[in-house]
């Protein structure tokens, strides 16, 4: 069903100098503490990280719950904030296609898609035998999802010991980690343009339209990068 050699290889990406574990842990520890303070119980907090597994969406959910938003409002705001997964999935799955892999594995394993797993996979998939890329992906995803769930549990349990100062400092780790990965991905002019333009436009558009700013910036930055002619 899943090739164990490649599964373990994917899982191993959680160890070593490029590990996303620290960044994942800090942000989900903070999330666990936020859940506790918002009145969720431990089972609900764990279930949220396991079934949603998308930090910005989970924060939107918690805020919406606290202000008593309607279900349809929650659905729309979460869908919008997590819509980035759509282009991310399209930009990854074709590289994992192989005729020997059953379809259901794609439908289930897309749940592992998050910024961390996506960046690791994009960085490393070319070195993996095409037949087993999906199994490698499942290994990465199982590792990152498990880290997220365990960290949520830990954060929930120690929330009383997390001062506001600590919560502030935990908040910077995740964006810094991913910005480093972005800089690491800037190996050609097109990707560099996509990342730099998106990074500049994101906060500018946020001033005018907070909900749409990320998607609009990404659309513009990505399209500009796509149109650039690369020197051969």
């Amino acid at each position: 069903m899943v090739n164990s050699k490649y599964f373990l290889l994917g899982l191993k990406s959680l160890a070593g100098g490029r590990s996303p574990a620290v960044a994942l842990a800090t942000s989900f520890i903070a999330l666990g503490a936020i859940f506790k303070h918002s009145g969720f119980n431990l089972e609900q907090s764990v279930a949220s990280s396991f079934f949603t597994y998308a930090l910005p969406g989970q924060l939107v959910m918690t805020e919406s719950y606290l202000i008593g938003a309607s279900l349809i409002n929650i659905f729309i705001s979460v869908w919008l904030v997590n819509f980035r997964f759509y282009p991310m999935t399209v930009a990854l799955m074709p590289a994992l296609h192989h005729k020997n892999q059953p379809r259901w594995k794609y439908y289930i394993s897309c749940h592992f898609l998050a910024v961390s797993s996506w960046l690791i996979m994009k960085e490393g998939y070319k070195k993996i035998d095409k037949r087993f890329r999906l199994d490698y992906w499942i290994g990465i995803g199982s590792g990152t999802l498990t880290s997220a769930v365990l960290s949520t549990t830990f954060g929930y349990l120690i929330s009383d010991y997390l001062s506001n100062d600590l919560m502030i400092a935990l908040g910077i780790v995740n964006p810094v980690y991913f910005l480093c990965m972005m800089v690491g991905a800037m190996t050609n002019i097109k990707t560099t343009v996509a990342i730099v333009v998106g990074g500049i436009l994101g906060p500018i558009f946020y001033l005018f339209t907070p909900e749409w700013s990320i998607l609009i910036s990404g659309f513009i930055g990505g399209s500009l990068a796509f149109l650039i002619k690369e020197k051969k």
Partner: protein, 107 residues
């Protein structure tokens, strides 16, 4: 009226999974060598960059309480360390936490 937390978690999970599943369905007939794949690739990178810079400049949650100058300084130092350490990710991540703690405590 307020809904039960379980239903809210379910709605959030479905709203999130839809985008992932739609992505799989769209990509079923897409080759990784096609132009459409290329375009999605750059858009995805650009979206992530927009999100991460936005999280530093206009953060949600506790990070708002740190001065914007301290957030930007910490980010620049950590990105430089990342480049100088030949792309080690663990060192700048831990450093970002320590540096911002120092800023926040005003040591």
């Amino acid at each position: 009226m307020s809904y039960s937390i379980a239903i809210i978690i379910l709605v959030t999970s479905v709203a999130t999974y839809i985008s992932r599943l739609l992505g799989v369905l769209t990509s079923e007939r897409l080759s990784s060598k096609s132009k459409v794949f290329d375009w999605f690739n750059y858009v995805a990178y650009s979206i992530l960059a927009a999100l991460m810079v936005r999280m530093i400049i206009f953060p949600n949650g506790a990070l708002q309480d740190a001065e914007i100058s301290s957030r930007i300084i910490v980010t620049i130092i950590c990105l430089s360390v990342f480049v100088l350490t030949k792309k080690n990710l663990v060192i700048p991540t831990i450093l970002s936490f320590l540096l911002l703690t120092i800023f926040v405590l005003g040591v």
